[in-house]
Amino acid sequence: MSAGDFKMNCGDVGPLLVFLACDEVTAEERAAIEAHLAGCADCRELLSEEGQFQESVSVLPQAADELDRSGTLLAQCRSELAESLDEIAVPAERERWQSFGFVRRWMALRPGWSAAGLLAAGAILGVQLLQWLPTSGSGIKGVAMNVSAAPRVSDDQLARMAVSGINFAPTADAAPGTLQVQLRAEQPVTLSGSLDDTDVRRVLTYVVRNSDRFDAGVRLDCLEALKSRIRDVEIRSALLDAARHDQNPAVRMKALEALRDVVGEHDVRDALLESLNRDSNPGVRVEAVNLLVRSLELESLPQMPEAPEASDSDMPMIAPNAPAVALTGADPSVRRVVRALEELQHSDPNRYVRLRSAAALRQIGPPDVQ
């Protein structure tokens, strides 16, 4: 159809003006409408009004421009989506254990019977296993060794040993206590001594560094023992290793806690930043935030005229007004901490970590980083 084929009247043109004004008519329609408009002042007036209306509409500010100017909403949405995706992923793991659901329910309703049943099962299993495991029967009946300067535990023994338990016998004056480390190797051995003993230190740091070989409970005990010697280079290195790489989040967190007194050191701060950015466990990330704040606080203390007052907030370890001094310095590692916290407060998938990071920034940062 062309303009010459069909002459439109006002009734035909009226409804099409809406679409002409927003360029949604075909070439044929446009030609026919324009032919009509050339001779019709009323329709030209209507078209002009339609154009004005659409122009008024198009200059209206959009809700998106006003409602998320800072991008906070987008960050929130991303983080919530990540949490939802995590939750979707978790049931797949749970399904494997669903067949045991009835057992759990039964046990929850009958705690007495459950405890008795578990004890009986444990006893039977233990008796049966003892017959088949040659080393376990005599495992803890080791001879006490006198530790001398020369290492008695060889690398080969370390590689093959299993640690069945660690006993603490702290002295009354709180000096480094005596430890008993029970080892299972070719011959069961009980190492007895303090952390001054090279063998004891070697065994404990070896256990901490080899998370795939030892039970998490034993690793936690080792960390507990080692934390009193955190200024020892070898021990600190083992703890940093555990904070970064241990498979168990409780052990990673314990390792971070053990580093509490040396948080001002650069290698420790690097490890904390790594945990902040990479650790999959929110509890560990929060612990890293706490320790980083503490490190800044410690850094700023010498410049403060007086000790900070105790805070009544839920984060007692942070002095509210203290470390802003540290942030004004040119230390690039401090700037990295602030940047990491800023990143975390916007994009960490866990809400508590975001809140904790924001609170930490408020505590430590100058106004422009809040």
Binding site: P15, F19, E24, S56, S58, Q62, A64, L81
Partner: protein, 216 residues
């Protein structure tokens, strides 16, 4: 979270390890995500989520509703990604899901208005928000006060009138005038014909102009 190089388990492991995800094109990312690579899916989200949130905010006018739409839409995409067969672009498919989620929300809102918080009218001067024409003053010094006043009045009336449109009319009008989409694309997004979209736009425009009344 999976790492940035997409080493979390896609089938095309070689592709993912030699090329970082941000460098992959849309199609490769979708294929990786379909194979179960969570990092690839997250990269897709990051590429398009600004537009999605913007559309949701413009249509819903409330941040909390826009957040719900964002969540629901991307979770739908995640769950149904294996059904995507590249018959259209991923963006078009995503847009279709988002607009339909918005439509559902608007319909629910219309059905149960008593449960809803009032919309935020970003253009209302009396609510303390900024006036668009105020920003234009330096660039348009000839603009007379009377016309500015008229502009405010028109905006206020348009906002009120928009609330009276049906969900579909509202979505079509917003997509045409604020997203700048052609009617055919709007039809694609809503899963309907161009003719239906045209009717919705016509009705929406007519209702809005009736609301404007004497200001015409």
């Amino acid at each position: 979270m999976a790492d940035n190089a997409g080493r979390s388990g896609g089938t095309n492991a070689v592709l993912a390890t030699v090329t970082s995800l941000p460098e992959l094109d849309e199609r490769s990312l979708v294929i990786e995500a379909q194979a179960g690579n969570r990092a690839a899916f997250e990269e897709l989200v990051r590429r398009f989520d600004r537009d999605v949130l913007r559309l949701a905010l413009n249509l819903m006018k409330r941040p909390e509703d826009a957040r719900d739409v964002y969540q629901e839409a991307f979770l739908k995409v995640y769950r149904n990604l294996h059904r995507f067969r590249f018959e259209c672009s991923f963006y078009t498919w995503l847009y279709r899901i988002v607009t339909n989620v918005c439509l559902d929300h608007l319909r629910r809102r219309q059905a149960r208005p008593e449960d809803q918080a009032p919309e935020i009218h970003v253009n209302r001067q009396e609510e303390g928000t900024r006036d668009f024409f105020e920003f234009q003053r330096e660039h348009r010094p000839a603009l007379d006060p009377e016309r500015r006043l008229m502009g405010k009045e028109i905006r206020s009336r348009i906002s009120k009138a928009m609330e009276r449109l049906s969900p579909r009319e509202r979505v079509v009008f917003e997509m045409k005038h604020y997203q700048g989409l052609k009617l055919r694309a709007i039809g694609d997004a809503l899963g309907t014909t161009e003719e239906t979209v045209k009717n919705s736009l016509f009705r929406a425009t007519r209702k809005l102009r009736q609301e404007l009344g004497e200001l015409r």
